[in-house]
Symmetry: none
Subunit: 233 residues, 2 copies
DNA sequence: AATATACTCGAACACGCGTTCGGTGTCAAG
DNA sequence: CTTGACACCGAACGCGTGTTCGAGTATATT
């Protein structure tokens, strides 16, 4: 018992095929064969898939190159139905400024920023990130003022962070100190009874913070980007 | 009569094949068949192309999926040989290191780096560059050591430069001082009888250099990228 | 009830395509 | 000269793959 749709629309099966086409194309860099589509969608006969592909072509979602294996190309219209992930570039939302006297934006690690609200964003080539990092939960902050200068981070720089609440020794993290109302970027080391916050500039002395003092880790810095326009005198 | 190459390198034919693979992939969204490669490169036998593809796989330029039609995927390494056109990302070649005691790589502004030699490269999203900058002549240097620390640039940072030989006041430039054998990055100001080289760190004092002293400007810094792995103790 | 339309199936066909193998010619090392 | 590594050829094999056809089933239309 199949669900019938009007001839103009897309049936559930059509969408499954389109999704598979996109997924396969992203993974292998080539379209699947008709029989591979059969296996995926659960159709036993190649002629049915052929039939469906003709329909999808007729409705403008793809173009078929007759008589060549894997001869189909997806069109722009597919983007109306299936979200296509670009493998080269990821968009990292800039959640706000970071400065000594400003609270850091609150966020729950793990949640994804959807397209509901619009953010400023920086685009980062995937090749700049570690291979294991998929980048889906990264966020960015724009540095205001000179307070991070001992971390070799200047006014206007953009820091890209991965949301974490705990840090391993040696990682550079964004820290919020509620008592002194201070946000800062430092290399983080946990010692016996204190935290050692090491500036990135090796000529500068570390700061020690007792474990009694509240300290919130907001994220781990994975990248710093500085766009240089001209000297701000 | 064919030109022989050493087994480690890439012959002219290999490059032609790789270029065709990229071109075909960009146009059709799938790899060509072996016989299509035959027709393109002017080889009559499919076994030869098969032979060459095995070599290219062995050298890491592609991955073959056995027994499936058009079953090959290009790897990142291909980008060292063939320029891949992509709207979102530009590839900036890393010409070498920059350090206090090292000469800066020589280059003529305007020339394009071709595929003769292989470069390391960084990928930068176009959206990070000024709109007018097309990015075709940019190059990058990898900072070695702490000598640029007064410019807030650390060991391992990557600086992206635009090749210029003259600088306007307020631009950050890569400078080579032949007399003291020093390469450095500073904000550049031309004054009456001297140059003023201003560190990026505003708490540090500028350096003054007489106009009699030779000074070569190698490029204008347009971006600094810092990838943070972990603290190098 | 009869007809048309849409969808599915299985099978067969013919060509596309990757793979393998024996053989030829070239060049450098032993 | 002999040997072996390397590049190339042509042909054949066999499976992958797109295509076509006849038939069956469900739903809607007349």
């Amino acid at each position: 018992m199949m669900v019938r749709k009007r001839s103009e629309g897309l049936s559930l099966k059509h969408k499954r095929i389109l999704e598979f086409l996109v997924r396969y194309q992203e993974e292998y860099g080539r379209p699947p064969s008709i029989r591979e589509i059969c296996a995926e969608v659960g159709i036993t006969s190649t002629s049915v898939v052929n039939y469906d592909l003709d329909q999808l072509e007729q409705r403008g979602y793809l173009v078929r190159d007759g008589r060549v294996s894997r001869g189909l190309r997806l069109t722009e219209k597919v983007k109306n139905v299936v979200t296509i992930t670009n493998d080269n570039v990821i968009r990292v939302p800039i959640l706000g400024p970071i400065a000594a006297g400003l609270p850091l934006p609150d966020l729950q690690p793990g949640i994804r920023f959807d397209t509901e609200t619009e953010y400023e964003a920086v685009e980062i080539a995937r090749s700049l990130l570690p291979a294991k990092e998929n980048g889906s939960d990264l966020y960015a902050l724009e540095v205001k003022g000179d307070s991070m200068i001992d971390a070799m981070i200047n006014d206007g720089d953009i820091v890209v962070l991965k949301p974490v609440v705990e840090a391993r020794n040696g990682e550079m993290v964004a820290i919020w100190l509620p008592q002194t109302n201070e946000a800062t970027l430092k290399y983080f080391f946990k010692e016996k009874d204190r935290y050692r916050l090491q500036p990135a500039n090796p000529t500068m002395e570390p700061i020690y913070i007792s474990k009694d003092i509240p300290l919130e880790i907001k994220g781990k810095v994975v990248m710093v980007i500085r766009k240089i326009e001209s000297f701000a005198l």
